[in-house]
Structure formats: structure tokens, C-alpha cells
Amino acid sequence: MSTPLPPATRGPLGRRFTEAVARGALELPVCDDCGRLQYPPREACGHCLSPSLTWQAMQLTGELLAATTLQHSNEAYFAERLPRRVGLVRIADGAQAVVHLVDDSKPGAVVGVRAMLDRSAQGVLVAHAVGGAMNARYRDEFTSPA
């Protein structure tokens, strides 16, 4: 029996995100014309429809808009690691990101969002309070390539 792993399926833009995380960078597309950050990533600007976007390295912090504690998952990997928290973070105007929430931050808190690799070597966003730390139980789930 194989060991369950987190979902590994991604499209081309998800793979582009992972490729940057694998070399230690959090990169997301930004519109060359209007400057808007695109999340979820896309190839045309969701604001001005420019066909010209550039993936840029960035640091992300933002307000935790909402959070939940999962007591059920459709994937065996997560089902073996319940309960666990996920959150929704405002990372820019018009952009909010679903993240692994790895501390006990409450909505309204300002969290820092990092890009790390999960156990399927896929890039994912991981958040905890600015100045805080990842809860120890998650340490074997996520790695930060140097």
C-alpha cells in the first residue's frame, strides 16, 4: 500500500508557481500595464485584460479574513492529519489566497504568507502570525528550499 501524499495535480500556472518555490522564491504574476497582482495566477490580467504579465518575486503579508478548522478531508493524506486549519488571507487589493494556517491566528490578525513545498513537492502557501512561528506539528509537512 502506498503512502498517501497531498494532491499533486496542478495546471501549467501551478507548475510555474512550484518551479519558483523549488528554487526558494515566492513568485506571482503582476500585470505589466496596470500593476495588479494576479491570484489565482492567470495569463491575462483580470483587471485590465492585458496579455502581458510578469512573474515577480515578493513578500506577502495580509489580513486573515476568515479561518476554519477542518475535521474532514476528501484526501487520505489530510484525513490522517486532522484537525487542521486553513485560512483566507488578503494578499493584495482584489486578491485573496487560501493558505495552510499553521498557528492559532484569528481572523483580523496580520499574517505572513510563505511559499513552501509540501510532501508532494508542490508549492503551497503557508501562513502564520507576523513574528510568530509554525506550530511544530506541521514541520514535517512543509520544506523551504534554501
Binding site: P7, T68, H72, F78
Partner: protein, 391 residues
């Protein structure tokens, strides 16, 4: 703000059918759609050759679409729609079919929605529901829409002081309504205590906030009033409809829906107001969304949903009949058919052929649709006001 919209005076909606409800099935979606189509013919006395328009909505028909179903079922329509709009697909199919009949592009449109359900189908659906969801939601706990609606519910509760009891009132009343409906899959009596004690799924969402995916199909026919009368079919008048997609995209968390853009046009088109509605069928994927529809369709102000449910009885025989056959929360969500069931129930109430309890003196009903959690919010909204043919 919408401009002057053509009315629907000559449009009749008939033959509400529900077919094949089961917790799981080894049959494919096309089998369920065919079952509903056969039920439409049986209910109307028509034959396949009379159907010259077809609308199909299904999540599990893939790799086929409506096109494949025409060959499967041996139909040769001159008008065809494939509507992947989830919980809004019923009202939107009705909108499309009505205009086809008015324009003469079709004379009898069969509107169908149906899905199968088995151990793998739901998970498969969630893994690749959309490109945004595949890359930016599913990898984060694979909780499906429960997590997205947990965010929306959490945010709404904090913003407006809604309690779990308020959402429970909606679920409990729907369960009471479903207790009289023989094809409802969830009829075990539910008290508010049962609702509150149900196990957590994704806080603040608990088990009885969640629909049960199942297999089944729903359908109806759209034709001219003249045709319906010639066939002697009980029918319903379409008074007004609206739809909107990706409403309020700059709201960081969804707390209102696209109905707000066109609500005035909806009521103006029917020359009626919320107070004239004898019942309301909302899309109930989660109670918070039903509450949002009470607000955004004008039954109470934004944020007053909690006070509204505390001040009304939502059973079919109550002060505000809501989801009168039990909604998806008690019938089961047969995939896309969940986007039809409120409309089908409204047709039954307005032609005096309810499957459960009748709404007393029902003359006008409002049906609302919502769906397609492409990333973090439901993108599709739609609504229709229906009237008894002899009102």
C-alpha cells in the same frame, strides 16, 4: 441597472419531474437524464419527436456534453444548450428556453439536469472542479466547498451576529418540509438540538449544514401558453427573471450575491414586490447562502437575515414558506439537479400537484439559483418569479 426587458407573456412552464433519486448508483449520468426525459414525455403526453429544443446540465456526464446526449437519447433538436452553471442552472435553462420559444427557435424545450453518484465521483469532481480550485484550493486540505463556505459563514457570523441557531432554524424547517416528500433521501426528524450537536466538518460548518451528494434527475418543459392549453397541461406563467455572474468581484469575502444588481428589474418585470411572494425556493447548498438570498432578494435588509429567520416560521404551512419540499439539505443534491429542484417544486406548488405539503393559496413564487464555486465564492446567481396560470 438593466434597461427595458422583454416580458414572457406567452411562455408556459410545465411538467415538473423528479426521477431516480438514490444515495449512489452504478449507472451513468445519461441514464438519469434519459429517465427524466421519459418522465417528461409521460407527464405531457408528448413523444420524442415533439421535443425540438433541449437544455442539459450535468457534472458527471463527461466526457460528453449535451451534444453526446442527443445521440444517446435519439433526439434531433434544432436548439441545444449545455449549461454548466451548478445551482443556477434551473433558472438559467428556463431563461434560455423561454426566449427560444418566444423567438420561434424551438416549440417544446425539454430542460434536464441530472447526475450519478458513487464512491469516486464526488472526489473526482472536487479535484478538478476548476483551474483556480485545482491549483489554489484543493491542495489546501481537500475539504471541497465545505472549506470555502466555512470562510463565508465565519465571516458572515462575525459581520452580522448570526448564530448557529439561526442557520439551524432554516435546516430544521426544511427537514420538516421534507418529511412529507417520499423521494427525499433525508427524512429523519431533526430538532434544533440535533442540528447544533451534529459533528463539525469545517468550523463553523457542521454535518447538518451540508447537502448529501446523491444521484438523480429533475426536469420541466417550456412551450407557448397556446401549446400548453392545446395539450391540456397544467402550466405556470413566467413573470420575470434575472441572472448575473461574478457579482461584486471586489468583495474580499462573499457576503452578498449578484441578485442585488438586478433585483429591481426582477420585481419591476413582474409588477410585484417581495410581499407578493407566497413562497420562496432558495439554493441551499449551505444555510448561510439561503440567508443571503433572503436579504439580496429583498425580504429583509442586508445583515437582518438572523432577525428574519427568528421572526418567521419557514415551514410550508408557516409565515414564510421556504424550500417547501425540503431543499437539497433534505432531498439530497443530485449534482446539477440540485439547481433545478427549487424550480420544479415551485412548478408543482403553482399547479396544485405538490409532492409534500401544499402552500395554501399559492399564486406567486420566487425561485433563486446560486452556484459554481470557481475559487472562493459562488459566481452564478439567477432568480425567477412564477405565477399561477389562472391568477
Amino acid at each position: 441597472m438593466s434597461g427595458a426587458i422583454k416580458g414572457y407573456d406567452d411562455v408556459a412552464v410545465t411538467a415538473p419531474v423528479s426521477w431516480g433519486y438514490a444515495r449512489r448508483s452504478e449507472q451513468g449520468a445519461a441514464w438519469f437524464l434519459a429517465g427524466a426525459l421519459r418522465a417528461l414525455l409521460s407527464a405531457s403526453g408528448l413523444v420524442k419527436d415533439d421535443i425540438d429544443g433541449l437544455s442539459v446540465s450535468s457534472f458527471t456526464l463527461g466526457p460528453d456534453t449535451a451534444v453526446g446526449f442527443t445521440q444517446y437519447a435519439g433526439l434531433s433538436p434544432r436548439w441545444l444548450e449545455d449549461l454548466p452553471m451548478g445551482g443556477a442552472c434551473g433558472v438559467i435553462a428556463l431563461r434560455r428556453a423561454a426566449r427560444a420559444v418566444q423567438a420561434g427557435d424551438a416549440t417544446v424545450v425539454a430542460c434536464l439536469a441530472g447526475d450519478t453518484a458513487n464512491a469516486d465521483s464526488f472526489r473526482g469532481l472536487l479535484q478538478q472542479f476548476s483551474s483556480f480550485s485545482r491549483d489554489c484550493v484543493y491542495p489546501y486540505g481537500a475539504a471541497g466547498p465545505n472549506a470555502s463556505f466555512a470562510f463565508i459563514t465565519d465571516h458572515y457570523m462575525r459581520a452580522y451576529g448570526a448564530t448557529r441557531e439561526d442557520f439551524g432554524r432554516i435546516a430544521v424547517a426544511q427537514r420538516e418540509n421534507a418529511s412529507h416528500v417520499s423521494h427525499a433521501l433525508l427524512r429523519k426528524p431533526m430538532t434544533l438540538e440535533d442540528y447544533l450537536n451534529a459533528r463539525p466538518v469545517a468550523e463553523p460548518i457542521h454535518l447538518l449544514d451540508c447537502v448529501m451528494p446523491c444521484a438523480g434527475a429533475e426536469g420541466f418543459l417550456v412551450m407557448s401558453v397556446a401549446r400548453a392549453e392545446a395539450l391540456g397541461l397544467p402550466h405556470v406563467r413566467l413573470l420575470s427573471t434575472i441572472e448575473r455572474h461574478n457579482g461584486f468581484p471586489d468583495d474580499a469575502v462573499q457576503y452578498r450575491g449578484g441578485w442585488l444588481y438586478d433585483r429591481e428589474a426582477l420585481y419591476d418585470g413582474a409588477a410585484l414586490g417581495p410581499e407578493d411572494m407566497d413562497f420562496l425556493e432558495t439554493y441551499d447548498d449551505y444555510p448561510v447562502i439561503s440567508m443571503m438570498q433572503f436579504e439580496d432578494l429583498g425580504f429583509c435588509a442586508k445583515g437582518d437575515g438572523p432577525a428574519f429567520v427568528r421572526g418567521h416560521t419557514l415551514t410550508t404551512d408557516g409565515s414564510f414558506p421556504h424550500n417547501t419540499s425540503g431543499g437539497q439539505l433534505s432531498t439530497g443534491q443530485a449534482g446539477a439537479a440540485g439547481g433545478y429542484l427549487g424550480l420544479v417544486e415551485a412548478l408543482r406548488q403553482l399547479t396544485d400537484q405538490p409532492v409534500g405539503r401544499p402552500v395554501a393559496h399559492a399564486r406567486h413564487g420566487l425561485v433563486s439559483g446560486f452556484g459554481m464555486i470557481n475559487y472562493d465564492r459562488g459566481l452564478c446567481t439567477a432568480a425567477a418569479i412564477l405565477g399561477r396560470a389562472d391568477a
